[in-house]
């Protein structure tokens, strides 16, 4: 899987979220975007997922250049599974109905119900399929969100800080589920604050700070010996406690 971004610029009002982000990553399964808060990594992920339009720049994902207009972006989102920090399940629908909605209404899958059940089963949620999100724990909710994103069999999976809203126990429960995706060779691009997880599970890491991609390389190399002073300082600060 290849992702290359060139000179991406995105501003929100006066805030420059991305200021000429440029990088190229060639990864087998998992690319992790890491870096300090407010550095622009979530914005970068959202642009690649087709949720945000940059003012400038190009993105080439898996050999296809993204066109930043509503129609082609909608088509792009049909091939993407997206998981958010705040779960974003639909509160009026049960876990099963949450997974079914895109299968039935967007992708017109014939055996939607059995596929949705299989997706929930895969993440250990078989017993919870008829519960509403309010009756589930945070970890269960996020696993339903992952099941919903995966059930459509997406070409790419995007996750924006999938564990930031969870306590440590639920975090490891969700990280286990994400780590299992490796075995199914599901291409995954994620933003994470879990450095241990990024190191273990990601093939390639991109370090995003101050609206730029300062460094991008194999995960092992990055954590062993970061090439930029900013990344070294970041790792030092984060690994201090």
């Amino acid at each position: 899987m290849k992702l290359s971004c060139n000179q991406i610029r995105k501003t929100f009002g006066n805030h420059h979220a991305l200021n000429g982000a440029t990088f190229e990553a060639d990864f087998a399964h998992t690319l992790a975007l890491i870096g300090p808060s407010g550095g622009g990594k979530s914005t970068l992920l959202r642009i690649c997922a087709g949720l945000e339009i940059p003012e400038e720049g190009t993105v080439v994902l898996d050999g296809t250049q993204m066109i930043f207009e509503e129609k082609p972006m909608h088509r792009h989102r049909l091939r993407a599974g997206i998981v958010f920090q705040g779960f974003n399940l639909f509160p009026h629908l049960t876990a099963l109905e949450n997974v079914l909605l895109p299968l039935e209404k967007v992708h017109m899958v014939q055996d939607a119900r059995s596929r949705a059940n299989a997706a929930l089963e895969r993440f250990g949620l078989g017993a919870h399929s008829s519960k509403k999100p309010s009756q589930l724990s945070g970890g269960q909710r996020q696993r339903v969100a992952i099941a919903r994103a995966l059930a459509i069999e997406p070409d790419f999976l995007f996750m924006d800080e999938p564990t930031s809203a969870l306590d440590p126990e639920m975090t490891s429960e969700v990280l286990d589920a994400i780590a299992d995706l490796r075995d199914s060779k599901q291409p995954l691009i994620l933003v994470t604050h879990e450095m241990g997880f990024a190191r273990k599970a990601a093939d390639v890491v991109a370090f995003v700070a101050e609206g730029k991609v300062l460094e991008c390389g194999p995960s092992e190399d990055f954590f062993e010996a970061p090439r930029t002073a900013e990344a070294a300082r970041f790792l030092q600060r984060i690994l201090k406690y």
């Binding site: 958010f84 705040g86 895109p102 992708h107």
Partner: protein, 259 residues
């Protein structure tokens, strides 16, 4: 239990349920006694009013019918106006905003006078009931538009984003994600508005629509009996509005449990 508990229900010393019933019963008896003292001297004329029961019954039926039609019509108008106020097309948004603000700023009685005696009259339309229902629907529709608009806004940005993320089109996002949640959030105020439609329909009597209030006025002027005409009138409305507000309360409890 002490005397204080009989009148003050606090979390620390709650009034027992039986005491509330007893208190309620005493209150009702006192009220009845006061009414009796006030009205015992007046002469009652139930027999002659009973003779007009068909007029009363017909009026009540018309009230039910025009309330029901207004309910459907104003719900439709309200949803359309709420969506129009969110439109990106400015003339549509402006028109909807003007409708909602002008109607909400005008008393129903004034609106009735103006639309019936000025507009409908000029158009040569003299069907009192039809014009009345239309005015009532226009009036209530403006309030429902605001309720629906608040309901739609109460569905957060993250829900819309999530709908976009799973590939729903805008229309699908409204159909499957926004409306079901907006409706749930709007049900209690909507129920209140529906009760208002029933009560406000009494104003149609001023343009001569033969609904419940009009019938009671007719019976009153024919029999010269006030209590006997207007007490059944009040009861005629209460049997319609109390079930609506009970249903609203039940829905509210249900919603609390759901979220």
């Amino acid at each position: 239990m002490n005397a204080r508990q009989l009148f003050f229900d606090t979390p620390r010393s709650p009034t027992p349920a039986w005491a509330k019933w007893v208190l309620g019963l005493i209150g009702a008896l006192l009220f009845a006694a006061a009414c009796f003292a006030l009205l015992a001297g007046t002469t009652k004329n139930w027999e002659s009013v009973w003779g007009y029961r068909v007029v009363f019954w017909k009026g009540w039926l018309l009230t039910v019918q025009l309330s029901a039609v207004s309910l459907v019509l104003s719900s439709f108008l309200g949803v359309v106006a709420a969506l129009a106020r969110r439109s990106t097309f400015l003339p549509l948004r402006g028109f909807a905003t003007a409708y909602v603000e002008i109607v909400r700023g005008t008393p129903l009685l004034v609106l009735l006078y103006f639309l019936f005696y000025v507009v409908a009259n000029a158009a040569g339309w003299n069907d009192r009931v039809a014009v009345g229902v239309l005015v009532l629907s226009l009036f209530s529709g403006a309030y429902i538009a605001e309720i629906v608009r608040a309901g739609i806004s109460s569905v957060g940005e993250s829900q819309r984003e999530s709908a976009r993320a799973i590939g729903l089109t805008t229309a699908q996002a409204y159909r499957y994600v926004v409306f079901p949640q907006a409706l749930r959030n709007s049900l209690p105020p909507l129920a209140g508005q529906f009760a208002s439609i029933i009560k406000d329909s009494s104003l149609l009597s001023v343009v001569g629509a033969a609904e419940l209030t009009y019938s009671a006025q007719q019976i009153n002027s024919a029999t010269f009996s006030t209590l006997e005409s207007f007490l059944p009138l009040a009861i005629g409305y209460l049997v319609l509005t109390i079930p609506v507000s009970l249903a609203a309360r039940r829905m509210e409890k249900h919603l609390v449990f759901e979220t």
